[in-house]
Symmetry: C2
Subunit: 354 residues, 2 copies
């Protein structure tokens, strides 16, 4: 939409029609078209932004590629266009949340197969999902790019810009031995829901009212990025380090330990399991909580002397373990089972290209 | 590389190997790994940047999708990995140039088919092309995302962040009737070179030495974004409006007229044809100059009283016409032929999804 994607003048179909559709959708939703930090949105070679004074800029980009990150719905199994739009934006918002930041603007690069580019129902659903979430967090859609997809796959890449007070963004590299480990919300819900999607038959329409994105019951289809929690952790100086759990607890905790050069011990008993995991065997529920990706909760550390509330911005906060020095521990991450038996927890979450 | 793509710990192949390769390449080239404005690069949920004080932020994203924007070389016809890497970054740099900005950082989202992900020769060539150009303009590669491609196509999306003094970025919407129209460099070279690529046989290796990206003779394979010219236009307050010619003169001049609510007259005789077009018939050369995309020159306007030099930063500057009011002109863009005959110039440049 910036640059190549702006104001195609030639043809009434194709890219111009798509841009017009996006403009219509952003016009219809407060907060998705402009903000005081966005000086120039869709319509020039670049968008122009002025980050808040005294803040630094946070930048993250995330692919959402058909078959890799979602499957187009067929007979209402898999992902509805609303879910795809929502998830496409949620990934980046969760990265901003993990730094304790506020979103400034989103940019969408979208390549569509011809079959989809002419399907207003799909496109309207996609932008409905994406912009309903954007509106909930006052994130204007400020530009991007469009293209025809080289294959029959929908390809999206979302750039999220955010801001945090200078020098205060939460990082994953600053956990200290002795810190307590916490997670927000609950774990394993997204993986559990995902496992049911392929077998799902037609959903009742009442499941997707206007406010679908606020339903807590759909952790995979409509994950809620923990922006308010991240911002509170930063503002109230509660956290020493933070990362989002997008790749699964085992993998993201390993990232945090690696970057902070520490080790960690977590307790099976302490893990807050998502209610959806009750449909699974206890072992499967534990596996989903430890290794299931895309819960988009925050994993953070706090000094053991810090009084961390049990809930922040309405989201439950659960202590699940402690940070130890590397030489105190045989393993990078140790899982202490209910019977007190310690085992090594190897990262088994999401890994692309492997 | 920010977020999902950072520091995969698990497997020695796949995404970690790719990130390691990128780190190796950026380490080898001054200016592509860090800068004083990049506080945190590859390795956390987000990258952190501090734009220069008193400046505003420029943002642009550009897809580079196999078959839509390039074709993988086969038998040395089409695009070498170096050219693909160079072009992937050049598109965004040209957008920054068109605003008169300085690049701050680039972010690369890259999805590779399995066959390519395991091919160090291709990957090394790609990053060589991309980072040689990045180094030439002191643009650190600060993050991005990686994934396996859902098809056999290479998919890239590049985000460029830049900066310009507050309120002074050049726009396409500010041309005034009476202004003179100028282009940088020459036109039609990229289209002419592109038309020869499909028939090309093995290139002599001497065509691609270390400094390949500085060769002016390869306007399609190794386009040179006009950053120094754009920055001079802004700094010396020469231009009233500016756009890059990525979609072809006829299309981008129509964009400029549309956004500025003006009309334009340009003169066939005045168009600076690229030397490569000499291999074409005069009519084909003119067609390439008017409608051939991807020249990545700048099209700008200046007040008629402004003395615009004949060359800026070593690049030729050519007056090609004038801006007029909409009611002075029957057409949005009028082409005045050598014999003085005026005709309507319709945008016939690049248009996706049509």
């Amino acid at each position: 939409m910036t640059s190549k994607a702006t104001n195609r003048i030639v043809h009434p179909t194709g890219e111009i029609a798509l841009i017009a559709l996006i403009r219509e959708h952003t016009r219809a939703r407060a907060g998705t078209r402009s903000s005081r930090h966005l000086r120039l949105g869709i319509g020039d070679d670049c968008a122009i932004l002025t980050p808040p004074r005294g803040h630094e800029l946070l930048v993250t980009t995330d692919f959402s590629l058909e078959t890799r990150h979602f499957r187009r719905s067929s007979g209402d199994a898999w992902h509805s266009p609303q879910s795809i739009g929502h998830r496409t934006l949620a990934r980046g918002l969760s990265d901003i949340a993990a730094m304790g930041g506020k979103p400034l603007a989103a940019f969408l690069s979208l390549a569509l197969p011809k079959s989809i580019a002419r399907k207003p129902i799909w496109l309207n659903g996609f932008f409905d999902g994406l912009l309903t979430l954007a509106a909930a967090y006052n994130t204007p859609l400020a530009g991007g790019d469009t293209s025809e997809s080289p294959s029959d796959h929908i390809l999206a890449d979302v750039l999220l810009l955010g801001s945090a007070p200078k020098g205060r963004a939460l990082r994953r590299s600053t956990a200290k031995p002795g810190d307590t480990l916490y997670v927000t919300g609950s774990l394993g819900g997204a993986a559990t829901e995902l496992s049911t999607l392929s077998t799902k038959t037609k959903r009742p329409p009442s499941l997707f009212p206007i406010s679908y994105s606020l339903l807590p019951a759909s952790p995979h289809l409509f994950p809620q990025p923990r922006l308010a929690v991240g911002q509170a952790l930063l503002r109230r100086r509660l956290a020493t380090a933070c990362i989002d759990i997008s790749d699964g607890l085992s993998t993201d905790l390993a990232h945090l330990c690696e970057e902070s050069r520490v080790a960690a011990r977590i307790h099976t008993d302490a893990l807050p399991l998502h209610p959806l995991t009750r449909s699974l065997t206890p072992a499967a529920a534990l596996h989903a909580a430890l290794h299931g990706g895309e819960d988009y909760e925050l994993l953070f550390t706090a000094d053991s002397a810090t009084r961390v509330p049990r809930s922040i911005a309405g989201v439950r906060i659960t202590p699940i373990g402690t940070i130890v020095t590397r030489h105190q521990s045989r393993h990078q991450v140790t899982l202490v089972e209910a019977n007190g038996h310690p085992t090594e927890l190897l990262p088994q979450g999401w890994q692309h290209l492997s």
